[in-house]
Symmetry: D3
Subunit: 329 residues, 6 copies
């Protein structure tokens, strides 16, 4: 985690990854923590596109296409190969990054959901062209094949005066997400909370999906409203932006991360389970909550950093230890 | 409408139709009203499959594959070419029929909705084999190319002793429908209430969809919760099984039908509009309501019967006459 | 049927049709009977492509692309819009014609059958370029929108000196058909005998398929080897080239035709049934047999000629009258 | 191979593999040999689904979904992530295992073969729910990313009381396979013997296919009935369940395995070739034979075990040494 | 043609049509000639979308979404069901209309042509919202199922205050068309000049394409640069906006129209042919030319008006009469 | 590079590669330089198919299917697993080789370009069957999983007497390439120069494309005619057959190679830029030029040989150093 003066690049730490950047599949999940703006320093990622999800502090990203500023609750996406530098309007900035090696993030097909719903196209904002015209010795850092490469330029690389096309950074405020879910019974698959998807060649098994668990109403009757206990094909990397995640009553905080890899069983912790089991099923408004998930068809490999960091919850599975046996009754 | 003794066949009246039965596209909407069982009489439809939606009285359908009994709130589907006779367990039987000339009804792709939701496969029931072994002179009526053809058999045609395969009648109870909708804001497209779909070759524009508006919770905030005023590509034939349809406060009763053809503007009536406009947006449970829709990509032609029957609402568009002008304010 | 001097055009009679030539879907089945060559007369069909199946006498077709000669057991295909004239090497010529309004005939996807099987591409023969350089007053007859239009040219229209491309007439000898079928038990769907298919937009439901029932081995054990009794979605127009069709022991002769439209039940006649029911199931070589089928997803409309001709078998369904009841035993 | 007391897990040995379990593609072929049931021990494979093909002794698999018992001639499939233990009703159990990392096994599209044929869906059997309710210290072994991981539970993990869905183990008896093949001439591609297929994204090149060579009739005329000599794109791992494989007259026994990797030429051995070359081509019933093949689009890597085991046939290619030169004659 | 005071609606005359508006396939080609603006009169087409191609005078279309003004060289598209009125900024207005019953016009897939070329998305202009707030008795004319229906409103129907979405009228200036063609030899298919396409379900055979023949360079060497003589599957309806069409040296003028239906042979007239045959093949700039084509997969039926109007060129085929015979030389 | 006596196999050197031969994706680019024919030596590549592009000297390839001879300007393709030997009709032979591990090279879909254009199918030539009947001790070298394996045969492996099928070597003369490009303005994507494509599962991102920049006319007006400066997703390996590549005025010679990997910015060198910026935009014939490109969706890894060879241009990026700043003006 950042010490002394750390900018966005230096503050990036990789938690998990999968796939193969050279073959343009898979993704990596990073976290960042920075306390200074990038000065005379620029970044570009040739390995993948960056979906940035702050949970603390704003990021002001000066890109070749203009300026994209995001705050917690919002996300920003900077595509493969685009140069940018990150300013910090606030004292500190922390968040998650999904580095997508595969197909560009796109809105999912809504299918039966119809013409409107989930993340609506009109809420994605692309910057107005802006450029820097300055002579200076700057460092340009490029991530390529998993390494960072540094070069000196004698001018700002953000010297694109105008542009047209559809390959440009964008931002999205998750407050605009039109959440859709059961209005009768049962617990609906979290796929229904997909914001953006990086398709694999096989429908239903994305390279990586960006999923949110936003504020919403819960109204299911005759149902256990929390996520059911499950093992699944897709691997789930979760984070928290604000508030509490309903299936994890304690010890899941902003900046935290959980990984449930392919076929690793999981579900609500014992306390959440008990609360849900006995709750009166009246309409309930979930407020002040925003969890996120990077869900992927490939198995995630945690980094040495992730496996050895002090914050690792070695007793993570204890959260299920108190689940009693309910059958036979 | 049925007089004296009328069985299911004699009690069928066609309201609208489109497409071309010989080319296996389009559909027809019928209503039926019967007061006696079919005796020594059998029916089969070579033009299309029959989706039967009773709103009054049960139907007990003896088919080549076994017995399918349905009551209001349930539906039954008998495929093209299958012979059956209809018994009436109750004094009278009334309902709607969707005769689908196109691709067989199928469950829609759920896409992001996930592995469960809407109509779940396990709730569709197929009959146990049963047969009739009797010598009798019976009439077999076949619908073919829009006409009814009659023949005499000296035995029951329901003489199939056993069967295997996946082309068999089925029933479904709409009470098992897991309704999905917005749990945040906005009004979701009615496509999300699709129970069964007859695909056309073009995704998003079904030959005909069977849609229901079942009991459910309404929780949308900051929204006009009723259907918006719209003109659309698809044509909509609606009916009512029970209760009240939320966008039509009056004069829409079980057995009634409305047709909004391609690009015919429609929306809530003035009273429903006013009520929705001023409602407090707390969670609201819609109970005791079940409307249905046959939605189709082709323009519907009403029959002479439909256009001339006494029940025709010639002042139908008066329901919107009292809508005031709200802009400029 | 042809009287006095009748050439190929004058000898064509339409039996059934469906679809819509202007919209390029459906097909028509014709029969032809000719006793003279076309002299100073040329034909071209703008409505569809012609698949010609002789059962008596050879046809020598002089086309814009060269000469295609076919004999019984072979087929010839002349595409939409190609001019040709037909010479008769023998005294008389009779056969069937499938006029395909839809997608051009193509070899079906073999799928699991693999790289070789059924009709192999290398057995389809395209003519060497040949042309006529003559001044003469000739008649050119064009079929367009169901009518025949006649015009005079002062030269042969077969004046194409050379060509390249893949839109050219071809012939195929059904003796090269590699028949595939069960080698263990059961009766395999006749789709496995497909020679050429005109696709509709919907897999499994061709605009029209050309199917043959060629000489082959029958080895199914524990099975009723003949076609089962069935009603089906596709409509079947059958003809006979030579020998006997195994499910129709009598009264089906070369030049004959049967039509089993959508959902019309059919199966072996009583005599064939009895024979098959009691046969010893040793390997049996079906020789000297060649039946054909035009199978189509649209319902066929018979012509007035077909319905009124003297050869109509008004008691056709009598062939099933003697089928006894076998259940309950 | 198993010594002293060896259960199903301990008796598994890997022969070949390809692809990448973390990226959910490819497969591995194992053989097993066990002589005791698994006691207080459970297994689950997070890397792939297990298709188990016994050639000696029965397996009784207690799974989370119920009990699946298979004998030689049958196969069992246990999907990724499902816990089970294996009991041995007989003294010993030996067989092959296909561990499929890719898309779940599915029935192949039959295409022209029609509605019935090859492995029919109704012959696949899924277990009735059953569970174990016992307190005991048990070992649960999970295969994940190529390693076996062991954990202790204080109860049986087979504690699923009831279930619904379509992700459940199944069995299939190959005696129900309706073999389809040429009934005229030529040798048909072995793809026509496909029982189950794990699709890759590219039609025609499966991740892995499960293929059988079952008892059947051979009737091809004017043909060399055995497999032709070939090099091919797909790689072929073969095994034998019983009897003799027709293209390998000697030295291929139950439990044996052959690997012909991408573009490795192969075909009948010299003795089989000579026999086939001179055989009289009357109908011939192949009985008492059941060979299997795992065919895959990726190149297979043999394990050190496979390359070094005593049973390795180092002179395997000698089987073709005696093939004489037939051309020029 | 318009006499006295004729507005856009009254000045529409249908030339050819095909398909079926109720089944949402096919199209109609109209021409219009108007000399007054629509006053208190509005139009809407429920049968199809309108692609309007003026060759004389501007059209100022007030729509529910705002104002779209087009001049010769530009096109405007108003979708199915959108209300609008047409003002005439100039004394007169004449042009062509493609009424598309099928899938909405869309940009074609560019395939190998790449990311830019032909009609670029950024050159399509959508109006800024604008509305009319007026009380008046107005006539609203709606085209539905081939008929015009008239109703009185007491206010302007252009009362949409704001909108979002992607179903809105647009305009395009053909001067922005990036023409692509051979830069080496041969004559390229006119499909390469496609501006917009209404897809049918079958790739390569559009419901209707809008094609232009714009100013461009001709550089083909060793080639006959004009369209070759051809018969084709698609039917071609052509018009002229300005200048001369290179394959029709005379008698094709703005406002004229030609129809070459399915398999009707056509090509350059004799004079154009001779000129092209003997031209020196240096680079040549085609300027001051703009021809258009509505190309469709269905056969076009000309209207009685088209067949009987005084302007009909009954000797149209005389343009080829002087083509000499060049072979044998 | 070849010293003393070097045949085609010994003269192959690998420059870059990507993907995974065992998993049948990716490719490698090699160069070859030979001065003697292969004598008693044969080659076969099980890892991929070989697309051979000579820039100096002819190659006469004796294959199992017959003889394929190519000269500079032509290409030859020998598929995976086919045995051949290479004779040198000239003193030396040098060229490029694309070893394609993925889907076989195929002609790209032309889409709007129509029925003819780019590489036409009829210009691809397949050999007439030819075989060697000789007893001799020969060496057969097979490339498999990246290694070369050698074996001795006592006869020529080119002993295939006859063949049928569609898996056979072919050649193509790029002089037959019908180049298509802008005939109005702008610079068209190089994808329009695709000769052959090896599809990946994702349209638009080929496993590897073979692209040429052949002689052609440049006529774009108001445009910068050279390639624009770009970074892109695909990686580009280029070579030169003859003449000059228009965007690289100097230091790019036949036998040279450039690699611009994913997201590496590139464009015309400073001299080419200046020339193009100030050129008069009259039609210009590019003659005596033939550059090639292997373009691929995966990132290319250069070999140690490529990175260390004397010819490496370490100052390659100097070609852009003299580009002045033009904005602000």
């Amino acid at each position: 985690m950042p010490v002394s003066r750390t900018d966005f690049i230096d503050g990036l730490v990789t938690m998990v990854g999968n796939g193969n950047a050279a073959m343009h599949c898979g993704f990596a999940a990073h976290i960042y923590a920075a306390n200074v703006s990038m000065v005379d320093r620029y970044f570009s990622d040739a390995d993948g596109e960056l979906l940035i999800v702050p949970y603390e502090g704003r990021l002001r990203m000066h890109t070749e296409f203009g300026i994209v500023q995001i705050a917690p609750g919002e996300i920003g996406v900077i595509q493969r190969g685009i140069k940018f530098r990150v300013e910090l309007p606030d004292d500190a900035a922390r968040g998650y990054v999904c580095e997508n090696y595969g197909a560009f993030f796109n809105l999912p097909e809504l299918g039966l959901i119809g013409a409107n719903g989930l993340a609506n196209p009109r809420d994605f904002l692309t910057p107005v062209a802006a450029f820097e015209d300055r002579d200076a010795t700057v460092e340009v850092v490029v991530k390529f094949m998993g390494n960072l490469w540094s070069a000196q330029y004698e001018h700002s690389p953000l010297d694109v005066v105008a542009w047209h096309g559809n390959y440009a950074p964008y931002k999205y405020d998750t407050a605009h997400f039109n959440a859709v879910n059961t209005v009768s019974f049962d617990h609906t698959d979290p796929s229904i909370f997909t914001v953006l998807t990086s398709a694999s060649g096989i429908p239903g098994t994305a390279n990586v999906d960006f999923v949110i668990f936003p504020p919403r109403w819960l109204v299911a009757e005759h149902s256990f409203r929390l996520p059911w206990f499950h093992r699944n094909f897709m691997s789930e990397f979760m984070g928290l932006i604000r508030g509490q995640y309903d299936a994890k009553a304690e010890s899941f905080v902003p900046g935290g991360a959980s990984l449930h890899n392919c076929m690793a069983a999981h579900g609500p912790d014992a306390m959440s389970f008990e609360r849900a089991r006995t709750a009166e099923l009246v309409p309930e408004r979930l407020d002040d909550t925003l969890a996120i998930m990077f869900e992927t068809r490939f198995v995630c490999h945690p980094t040495r950093y992730a496996l050895e960091c002090a914050a690792l919850q070695r007793d993570y599975d204890e959260c299920w230890a108190d689940l009693p046996r309910y059958f036979p009754t």
